[in-house]
Assembly symmetry: C2
Homo-oligomer: 406 residues x 2
């Protein structure tokens, strides 16, 4: 049979990192590789009550086809959550998606023509890179420092690429770096977007999980021309398996997104939407999120102190105030892919940072996840990683020495 | 702000029919417009038991992220169902999708390059037309008769369009016509696909709901070169709100579909997948489907006998042996869109057939759904439609008479 695949699929391969994650799922492996929330915190008993309430009181309606836009009480509740963080929105600004992954995919489908430029943090979220690449986007990366995307760099890139379609940003506890965009930069990003007439895609899956520092309003809070499209999800605050995300944007955008979602999957699981809506009605999600924060704060602190204790000195790393990830920068000579393999031989896993750079060849970074392992495993895992790093650095140094003495 | 939308979105509009459906949802309307299964048959109590069992026994795992391919016990169960209808398949041939709408969308994404030709029945499923149009496909329609797509016509079209990518067919109780492809034509379709080197997309959401006539093997049963991609769903046999569909195809295709699904939504709702898997384990879905058949058979029979009783004589209609729809052909002078409006004024709704013809201007067809209304409503609704049709035909005839006498 002749090859029948569409040309666009030549660019698409199964995510390497997802393949890596499969290897790291062996039970003996201490894994800092995935981005999984802690399952022991999922509100299983509450969801059981909620399922019974939904099926008893709403019955068949909860299992029937429903509207593409989403279940109205859930959209209302999300509208309220948006207001709480400083985004003025009504139900007409909210579309429920099948996880925020779908929100990212529909964004690519709605905005990206072949060859369009999009600007993003360097590094940025791997799955968003894969989506935008599948629509043939060109990536322009903007450097970050500990306070997020550097605005002078952003302006330079906007000048150099006047036909940029949008800025894709994860301002809060970014994946993969754990860094947060500081307040003045949020305002400045809006000014620049207005000045250069580009959209902003604000992807905020982690914003609710702040366990240190001061709350910051989302970039969309400062939006004066309805050019910020805000994406979020219940995956980190409730249950990722239910695949519930949302888009909050101007009605003119939502209308187009709805047409695309009709094509993509008609609508998001009605039952899952009602479970979330009923949970928000019957339980205090703030209390639940508080519990998540307490645990993640502790795990993050332990990971940071173990890095301090066990990693070589010339390694730098981010100090997140929330979210799920720590970003590690190794000395330039070390190859993270090799470190990954050596760690795995010692039954500890991380993710090499290279795929998080859409154009990049940076080989000396690693992402560590702290949300999914116990304190004991974090200590043991970081200790093992430290041994590998010390060993590799010694090899590197003696190699360098021998070169110098030749 | 400058228009930022991608070019592809110019082709996409919110489905007219979905907009029509919104109008017909007023409680006073007797609606034959939608394609909704009868909600009173949904196994609500069983699903309640199943939810409790899943949450008690699988707990947090049922709410966590999971693999793109789908929940293994569900894929196994589907593999078994496929074998039961004569499709040889293992778990590696099955991908769980977010409803079969997603299966259709991923199919467009995987195979259609701009301008590619696809061949389909005339008329065919509206939502599939919208998907394939969004990928810029050209449609070649093949005439049907009461025994499905006419194979001589199909061969002619394959000769005329040698670069056809695939044949899209709904062989069982087709949407919108209710017609079924007869056995010899299934075999012939495979021969033609082999000869002309095209794929077949066999979309079979209704096959399990046969309430009359003889079971027929799916087209894929006769597939000798792994060129049939089979799509199905739990929407008509279990619960559409859960958005559970699947693709059954050669591993080389499934692998590519998985990469696309990772991009589209990571994976289908884990909890919904486990609900379905556990239901299949704990309950007898054949008994449940039997109950559906009994009810739909009766509703179909009543609708057919009321059409016979109340509709004008020169109207023809299909006599389905399963599924959800009856297709009505009006005399050429009548405009279905006008009939639709007149019916709606009398609080009865149907769907005008025009959008089911991808290139077509046929204006004198209607689709009637019988699965979603009670016997009493079917009788009353068809009676009202009959009055509208008689009235419109009389107007048409007297118009014709007056033209002749001028």
């Amino acid at each position: 049979m002749e090859n029948k695949f569409a040309k666009r699929t030549q660019l698409i391969k199964s995510s390497e990192t997802r393949e890596i994650l499969k290897v790291t799922e062996r039970p003996e492996v201490i894994s800092f590789a995935g981005g999984l929330p802690a399952p022991e915190l999922f509100p299983v008993e509450a969801i059981k009550d909620v399922c019974n309430a939904v099926l008893n009181e709403e019955g068949a309606a909860s299992l029937q086809y429903s509207t593409t836009e989403g279940y109205i009480p859930l959209r209302k509740a999300i509208g309220g959550m948006m207001k709480d963080i400083g985004i003025n929105s009504t139900i007409d600004n909210v579309l429920i998606t099948s996880g925020s992954q779908q929100a990212i995919d529909l964004t690519g489908r709605l905005f990206i023509d072949e060859g369009d430029t999009i600007i993003c943090e360097s590094p940025t979220y791997l799955a968003a890179i894969n989506v935008f690449k599948s629509y043939n986007a060109k990536f322009v990366e903007v450097d970050m420092d500990d306070e997020g995307m550097v605005m002078e760099e952003l302006e330079k890139k906007l000048q150099e690429h006047p036909t940029t379609k949008f800025i894709y940003t994860i301002p809060d506890f970014q994946n993969p770096t754990g860094r947060t965009l500081k307040l003045e930069r949020r305002k400045r990003m809006i000014e620049l977007a207005n000045q250069y007439d580009v959209l902003i895609i604000e992807d905020n899956p982690y914003g609710a999980i702040r366990f240190a520092g001061e709350e910051l309003p989302p970039v969309k809070h400062f939006d004066t021309e309805s050019r910020v499209i805000y994406l979020s999800t219940f995956s980190k605050t409730f249950a990722p398996g239910l695949r519930l995300g949302w888009i909050c944007a101007d009605e003119s955008f939502i209308e187009k997104y709805v047409a695309l979602k009709q094509i993509a999957d008609l609508h998001t699981d009605s039952f899952a939407q009602r479970i979330a809506a009923r949970y928000l009605e019957l339980f205090h999600i703030e209390e639940h999120i508080h519990n998540i924060k307490v645990v993640y704060k502790e795990r993050c602190a332990i990971m940071l102190s173990c890095i301090e204790e066990f990693f070589p000195e010339n390694i730098s790393y981010s100090k997140p105030e929330g979210g799920l990830f720590i970003w590690v920068e190794l000395p330039p000579g070390l190859d993270a892919a090799h470190i990954f393999s050596e760690c795995l031989r010692n039954n500890v896993a991380c993710v090499p940072g290279t795929p998080f750079f859409p154009n990049g060849t940076e080989k000396n970074t690693l992402r560590l996840n702290y949300s999914n392992m116990s304190k004991e495993k974090i200590r043991e895992g970081i200790k093992r990683m430290g041994e590998v790093l010390h060993h590799e650095l010694e090899k590197e140094t003696s190699l360098l020495d021998s070169k110098l003495t030749v």
